[in-house]
Each structure stands twice: as structure tokens, then as C-alpha cells.
């Protein structure tokens, strides 16, 4: 872009509509346009909303979930079913942990080239083209990994790997390493360069600089972000299961397709328990990392 300077000047000048204003107008236009498109397309389901049949279906569905019309005991009242699905919940939990560890490892391994201050040699290293190229490659990989939703990753992965916990964990990891990596790289970019410089003048090797100058400042934030992502990951494990990647999600979609509604309720209950537990553990661990 040759006119980039001119463009920048135009953006910052008073005459240009500010980005904020422009965004508001476009968001407003977008929402109006969206509703127009939806209504023009017809068959929105809005007419169904006032149809007694829809409400009948919906209430029957809820009744089925609660097991009211069921002759057998609803599964969520049977201890045995709780135990059987508990195994799946355990599997799901492990899948989320595995996923967050894989993405964390990749993020940690790639955070240095992804941080501008490191790759440009600002920390005392030498500026090299390799560093710059690595910076763009890693940043591009992050963007790609982030932009593709977990579900798409999972769909692609089950084509190559046998469906199961590993496939699901990999799908989750591929989506999340971009997010954790980007956040961590930003942390590295904002660290205080003084310790690293001091270490370098004292003759420390690159590994030592990394271990004592960079890592201590980055690790707490990195752990916090990973824990936050873990909370999100446990919620999405179910989705991954929809494409047969194992755990609660697969069972959920199967039971729904077999019309075992009380089982669906049981699985949702387990899911909520998992989400709650993970939220609490993560909250507790985040507090721990702050104090240390």
C-alpha cells in the first residue's frame, strides 16, 4: 500500500467519519438489513410461534424431557444410569484437560517468535530475517487456528483419525492454541525488558535468559488465560462430541436421535455439573496463580 500514509492521515483527520461512528451506522444497518432478509426469505418460523401446534410440540418435548409420559422410570432417577454416564463425563473432562495441555504446549513453544519484541531482537538478541519470517508465519498460523471453529476442526480430524477422545482433544487444541498463543505473545510483548537485558550483560545464555528473564513474567498470565480457555473448552467438548469425537456430546446426540429424552436430561445435568466444577476449580487455581 503506497498511499498508506495518506490513508492514515485521512483517518485521523477531523473530516473523516470516525471509525466508531461508522461502525455504529453499519451495525445498525446490518441489523435492520438482517431482519429484512430474514423476513423477505419467508418461512421464518414466526408464524409457527403463534400456532398452537408448535406450542403443543414444545410442551410435549419438555414433558418428554422430564419423563412425564414415560412408562419407565426416568433415567435421571436411576443411580445406575448416573454411573454409566458419569464415566462419559469423566472422559469428557479428561478430553478438555488434554486439549488445554496440548494447546498450552504449542502456545508456549511458539510464543517467542510470535512476540514482536523478541523476533525483532529488541531484547538484546540479533535482528534477523529468520526472526521476522518466523513472526509472520506463527502469527498467520494463530489467525488460521483461531478462525476455524472447533467443530470444523473436529469434522476434518475425524476424517483422518479414529473418532475418540484424542481426535476431540486435538480439534479443541487446534482451535485454542491460536487464542492462547496470541494472548501469551501479547503478554511477552509487554514484559519489562530490564531483567532480560541485565541477564544478557551478565553473560547468560539464551536458554537462561528465557528461563529467568522472560518466563517468570509471562507464566502467571499464561496460566490465567489457559484456565479461562479451559472453562470455554469444557463447554465446547459437548459440541465436539456431536461429530462423534467421544464423550458426553456423542451420547447426547445419539440419545436425542433415539428419542431417549430422559437420558438427554440426564446428560444435560452431567454437563451442567461439569461446567460448574470446572468453573470453580479454575476460579480457585486462578486465585492460586495470582498469589504465587
Amino acid at each position: 500500500m503506497t498511499s498508506s500514509g495518506g490513508f492514515k492521515k485521512w483517518v485521523h483527520s477531523k473530516r473523516a467519519p470516525s471509525l466508531v461512528k461508522m461502525s455504529f451506522v453499519s451495525i445498525a444497518a446490518l441489523s435492520i438489513l438482517s431482519w429484512t432478509i430474514i423476513i423477505i426469505e419467508g418461512d421464518t418460523g414466526f408464524t409457527n410461534l403463534f400456532d398452537s401446534k408448535t406450542w403443543g410440540n414444545a410442551s410435549r418435548f419438555i414433558a418428554n424431557m422430564a419423563g412425564i409420559h414415560d412408562s419407565t422410570t426416568p433415567s435421571f432417577l436411576v443411580l445406575d444410569r448416573w454411573l454409566v454416564t458419569g464415566v462419559l463425563a469423566y472422559e469428557t473432562l479428561l478430553m478438555s484437560i488434554l486439549a488445554i495441555f496440548i494447546s498450552g504446549f504449542i502456545a508456549l513453544a511458539t510464543m517467542l517468535p510470535a512476540a514482536k519484541n523478541i523476533s525483532s531482537g529488541e531484547m538484546g538478541g540479533i535482528k534477523s530475517t529468520t526472526g521476522t519470517v518466523a513472526y509472520y508465519i506463527v502469527r498467520l498460523a494463530y489467525a488460521f487456528s483461531r478462525a476455524i471453529p472447533e467443530l470444523v476442526w473436529a469434522l476434518l480430524i475425524v476424517f483422518f483419525l479414529s473418532p475418540g477422545v484424542l481426535a476431540g482433544a486435538l480439534a479443541l487444541a487446534f482451535h485454542n492454541f491460536g487464542i492462547i498463543g496470541r494472548l501469551t505473545a501479547e503478554v511477552v510483548e509487554n514484559i519489562d525488558p530490564a531483567p532480560a537485558r541485565a541477564l544478557r550483560t551478565a553473560g547468560a545464555s539464551n536458554v537462561q535468559i528465557f528461563l529467568y528473564g522472560i518466563l517468570p513474567q509471562t507464566l502467571p498470565q499464561f496460566l490465567t488465560y489457559s484456565l479461562y480457555r479451559w472453562e470455554v473448552v469444557i463447554r465446547t467438548t459437548v459440541i465436539i462430541g456431536f461429530v462423534s469425537a467421544g464423550g458426553l456430546g456423542r451420547e447426547f446426540i445419539l440419545r436425542l436421535n433415539w428419542f431417549h429424552y430422559t437420558d438427554v436430561t440426564l446428560l444435560i445435568l452431567w454437563y451442567l455439573i461439569l461446567v460448574l466444577c470446572v468453573d470453580m476449580i479454575s476460579f480457585w487455581l486462578r486465585k492460586l496463580t495470582k498469589f504465587s
Binding site: 432478509i37 479414529s162 475418540g164
Partner: protein
């Protein structure tokens, strides 16, 4: 300790079974080679564009429901419109918090599956199922932002005799506005991503097209759609990042 957790999580993987299934390796190579070139016929590009537009349409329609709903619930959950000494205050806050928590802990796709089962496959089901968890998360963040507002201006208004509603209108909301808007835009970005996945249950959009092409083993089409998805999300990401930086200044 972290390493132990990692190895513990590895036990869940069934290492004895085949990890790469039969033909998986060659399928991978076929898939990769389909990138050169992706499907670029005009008719397919048209399909991609319609799918992209549909994805954005559902996302913004859902946000138009989620934002007002989240704002109302968030204000109630922040407890600022109820008089401090009223005895029901505590219960109102707890109930709305629980409601918001329940709304957001169930993933949008799970809501979608439930809604499709309950009211049938329609755009409405998609919009509602996207709006519910988003209203839940927006409501929670809104309530926190409203609570984090600096205290002095509020106290000044209160000592001037402002009612709780006036406090909200002239105190809390204007003070929290940049944060509120910034977070809303961030969520809009997320909604587009979510809308792309939502179409996996059969509602038109990028996800639906990806699924169709993948099932037909048309990997070149999958690549085109993936490129559309990545470009859409990166663009929205850039927009929202820049806008939020501007809002925060």
C-alpha cells in the same frame, strides 16, 4: 503437578486401537492436495457468498435480541435499580444471576438442537438459540461493568436526590458506556463465529455448506469455504480490535 495432570489426561485416550484409521493417511494427502487449487467456479463462489451473508445475517439478528435482553437482565443482576435497604434485593440479584448462569452455561449448539427438536427447523430456532447464551454472557458482563463504575459521581447524584432509575440513566450507564460497547462488539465477533457453527444443525450458512461438501468428499470446495470463513472472521476480528482500541482511548 501439571505434568501429572497431563499424563492422567492421556489415560483417557485409547492407545491400543488404531489412532489413524485405515486410509486416514491417504485421505489426509488427498485433502491437502485439494487446496491446489480450491474450487473457484463462479457458481460455487456464489454459493459461498450467500452462505457467508446468511451467517452474518443470523449473527446480527441474534445480537439485536441478545443485547437488549442482556442489558435488562444485567441491570437487574447488578442490583442497582433496587433500593439498598429493600429486603427482596438479595433474592432478585440471586435469581437473575442464576438465570443468566443457566442461559450461558449451555452452549448455543445445544440450545439449537433442543430448539430444533422443540419448535422445528427454522431461522427462528437458530436466532433464539444464539440469542439465549449471548444474552446470558452479555448480561453477566454488563452487570459486572455496571458494578465497577467509580463511586464518587454516583454518590454525588444520590445526594442530589436522584432515584435509582435516574442514577442508572445519568450515572451508571454513561460511565460504563465505553466498556459496555467494547464488550458488545467483541461478542458480535464471537456471534459470527458461533453462527457459522450453528449452521451445522441444518440451518443455512457456512458450516452447513462445509458439512455438505465434506460429506460429498469435495475437498476443493471445503477449502474454498474454509478460506471464506477465515477471511470473514479475520476481517471482523480486525474491525472489532481496532474499534475497541478506539473506544478505550
Amino acid at each position: 503437578m501439571l505434568l501429572c495432570t497431563f499424563f492422567w489426561s492421556l489415560t483417557a485416550v485409547n492407545w491400543n486401537g488404531p489412532i489413524v484409521h485405515t486410509g486416514g493417511g491417504s485421505a489426509f494427502i488427498t485433502f491437502l492436495s485439494a487446496l491446489f487449487p480450491p474450487e473457484l467456479s463462479p457458481s460455487f463462489i456464489y454459493v459461498c457468498i450467500t452462505a457467508t451473508v446468511k451467517t452474518v445475517v443470523f449473527a446480527s439478528a441474534a445480537m439485536t435480541i441478545a443485547v437488549p435482553l442482556g442489558l435488562v437482565l444485567g441491570i437487574v443482576a447488578s442490583g442497582q435499580i433496587v433500593e439498598n435497604n429493600s429486603p427482596s434485593r438479595y433474592y432478585i440479584i440471586i435469581t437473575t444471576r442464576l438465570l443468566l448462569g443457566a442461559m450461558r452455561s449451555i452452549h448455543e449448539l445445544v440450545w439449537a438442537v433442543l430448539f430444533v427438536a422443540a419448535i422445528g427447523l427454522s431461522p427462528l430456532a437458530a436466532i433464539i438459540s444464539l440469542a439465549i447464551p449471548y444474552a446470558g454472557i452479555l448480561g453477566r458482563i454488563y452487570s459486572e461493568l455496571i458494578q465497577d463504575v467509580p463511586n464518587e459521581p454516583i454518590e454525588t447524584l444520590r445526594s442530589a436526590g436522584a432515584s435509582p432509575v435516574k442514577l442508572l440513566m445519568y450515572g451508571y450507564i454513561p460511565l460504563a458506556l465505553p466498556d459496555l460497547l467494547s464488550y458488545t462488539f467483541y461478542r458480535f465477533e464471537c456471534a459470527i463465529r458461533a453462527s457459522a457453527i450453528l449452521s451445522f444443525i441444518g440451518i443455512q450458512g457456512i458450516g452447513y455448506e462445509i458439512q455438505l461438501s465434506l460429506h460429498d468428499l469435495l475437498f476443493d470446495q471445503v477449502w474454498t469455504l474454509l478460506i471464506f470463513l477465515v477471511v470473514l472472521i479475520v476481517l471482523v476480528d480486525l474491525w472489532s480490535t481496532n474499534l475497541r482500541r478506539r473506544l478505550m482511548d
